[in-house]
Symmetry: D3
Subunit: 173 residues, 6 copies
């Protein structure tokens, strides 16, 4: 097993066509279907990083700003940003294209966290992440802050102990 992997090694691209059953009464993609695809693309990225079966541990807050219409082509790109012992954070970007009308919009950014499991289904160590590009390094650094927020929201860390996150509020004073 590689002890350190680059984000590029887990990069996964998924393309989906928005079909009638994916849409609501307004002919737009339902948020739940989009999250279903995000979960699959990011699980595959986490598999590639860890060479293990993985399970979804958490999903960070997602905002849905742009409607995505029936017949649009949705592209999702995912890669691991940082590893924390047995868990991995994955960053997902989604774009929607209405190709015949030449419209392409960035629709969502999301963070999913996965835990790698061994053959007995127990959490198991994963490789470290070695970021290369400026964006990868920024995602690597901010992963710590997102992790603190996740732990607080899950009731597993006290706000007082979240040094990285707390700094945001202190700066604001």
């Amino acid at each position: 097993m590689h002890l350190i992997k680059k984000p590029a090694e887990s990069l996964t691209t998924m393309t989906e066509l928005v079909l009638p059953n994916d849409t609501n009464g307004l002919n737009n993609l339902m948020g739940g279907r989009l999250m279903y695809w995000m979960d699959i693309v990011s699980a595959i990225a986490a598999q590639k990083h860890s060479n293990r079966l993985v399970v979804t541990a958490s999903v960070d807050n997602i905002t849905f700003a742009e409607p995505i219409g029936l017949g649009n082509v949705l592209t999702l790109r995912a890669h691991v940003t940082r590893a924390f012992s047995t868990s991995m954070e994955v960053y997902i970007e989604a774009w929607a294209e209405d190709i015949p009308n030449g419209r392409k919009v960035s629709t969502n950014k999301a963070f999913f966290t996965f835990v790698a499991l061994d053959k007995e289904g127990k959490p198991t160590q994963v490789p470290e992440v070695s970021p290369e590009t400026t964006e990868e390094k920024a995602l690597f650094d901010s992963a710590l802050r997102r992790r603190q927020l996740r732990l607080i929201l899950a009731g597993r860390m006290k706000p007082n102990d979240a040094a990285e996150l707390k700094a945001i509020f202190d700066q604001a004073k």
Copy 2:
């Protein structure tokens, strides 16, 4: 249109059987399929509150703690907690049961936010929420804090302006 509605008026219960295609390589329900069902049950609750078509605006951080096995029965209960002009926060609880083995576990709690749309697809006013039970009142009160966190995470509010949320960190000092 009722100007004020009770959470009980939007209460929606959904029951799903975990089928093979919903599961991963460990025969457990995939997180993405669970979020797909959460989106549908909470959209229906938001429809019931607003009597409008609704679109998913955001999903708060979700933690997946318990594996949910193939053949389990999943029960999801959703109701609107609070309205903010044209948007509604919906609270969802999920339980999984392995009925033949008599195991029932609470698996997830989640908050989805929806926007109500009129026939032209424009955001439109929804009824206020009048909480009745102690739990409904607690959810109504904390909705403000969750909303601030959502706005900050979406880059639409400065941490300094999130009075409700900031108090958590200040208390911690």
Copy 3:
């Protein structure tokens, strides 16, 4: 195992959104999809009553009176009405709502019968049913008559032996 259970202990509520692939050329829910959902909700009710895996043994005559449109919300409620050694009769009611237009109609009532199976797949004894409400008692009583009709239609009972059912025709003279 409880030797006697109340109908309320098996009560199961299912909510489904009518999606494009569930509809026919008139944009109405296909009868077959509705029966698919009825089978699942009633199988879950029978599982809850028996704490066993169950298989569908028969479906009574179902009438489809009301069209159910695309985008409607379908609510199905099921509970066990009476047990017969290793089999259970389940009563299902279905309502359809066109929420934005404020229309809610009762669409169907149906009876499904299930057999409980042990781990070897052999039929196994289930708890008795103890009805509580007036409606539950009426369903418990009439279950005998429906069972006789089922057995006659399946060629497993002679009309002459169906005392309960025969009374209907004799009264009519």
Copy 4:
């Protein structure tokens, strides 16, 4: 439009492979999936007889006697047995084959009733049925009795008026 059609003109054969998502915890086909397929094959037969869009009006009592396993091939054959002004009764037979093991069993017989609709969605006259074989004639004759039972069960006919059906009980004396 032909005023009279033979059952052979509406004969429809459907073959389905039982896939994982069609099965329950015992790896057998769920009754609801089978009824979904029965509804489609019989709706197509009713379309062929009437050259109209059709909607399911009712389903007669169905018994599920034989388990149908994962990977089995299911064959459904349907044809119209008799027309009643704007409605048609369709008879469906189903066989299951476990081809590698050379097992083939008759699994179900069922009757579905459909109403033909014109372009405005109003019930419209359909051709008469002219049965040819001995079996077709028997199905044509017994259709009257089944129709009376359907009307009684739907609360639209009094048992006393069901001459055909009543005879069964009177013979039994």
Copy 5:
């Protein structure tokens, strides 16, 4: 095991209703969904001929000439044309009907090849084919030429060795 089987013994008929999720932005059946159905109907025909589990080995060139609309009824008929030791060629014909408008068109003809596998997953001998009708005999004869083209296209035969196929070009001189 029969050493020789007739094409009629593997004949399989499949009927499918074109539903919204099967269609593209023009409301016509997607080619990929049609090939999915062709694969299933021809795999069942190959199972019937060989009484074995089978896997798809190759698909010959398919032309899509006629659009098939939403709500159309698609009929596929498949039978084995010839066996080559452990493999079988299956011929599939497809018709589409717009029943309410009385239009029926032949849409596709295709050849799929399957390999029969024993319980260890190893290729295993299948019965010979004994064609009966004129069409079956023509398909049996031309199967050799199609097989040569398949082997050349898969890089497993040199054009020079494809006597049957080469004759077509030589005749053309």
Copy 6:
């Protein structure tokens, strides 16, 4: 509209997880499901090249050499190789990975042809293709030969007129 486009401009990558319902009795991906995905990824590539809605016109011979197991990750890459007035040939490569076991195999290469349609559904001119890499140039050149074979197989060209294709057999002498 660009009059000339590079293959890179239509490049589309799709990643799919092989789920239970995609597999046959041997737990391997069914050929029909793979062709369904190939059709979607190549239709999207053809859309990107033409900025039009497209319909599948033909599929060239496909060989299935490698079994693809349940839980494998399938990657499909497609781009337009050459345009012929209103039609485009798309080349698709597929790889399957069993990530936890570190196995990755090239499984298929395929050519699909699409026709671009304008808003009235009539075939319409598409941009030329300007190949850049050595592989793209080879695919561009050989596209002519594949097109001749397609036309002969569809009965729309005489073997004698297929100069490019005939050369293969003449060389062989």
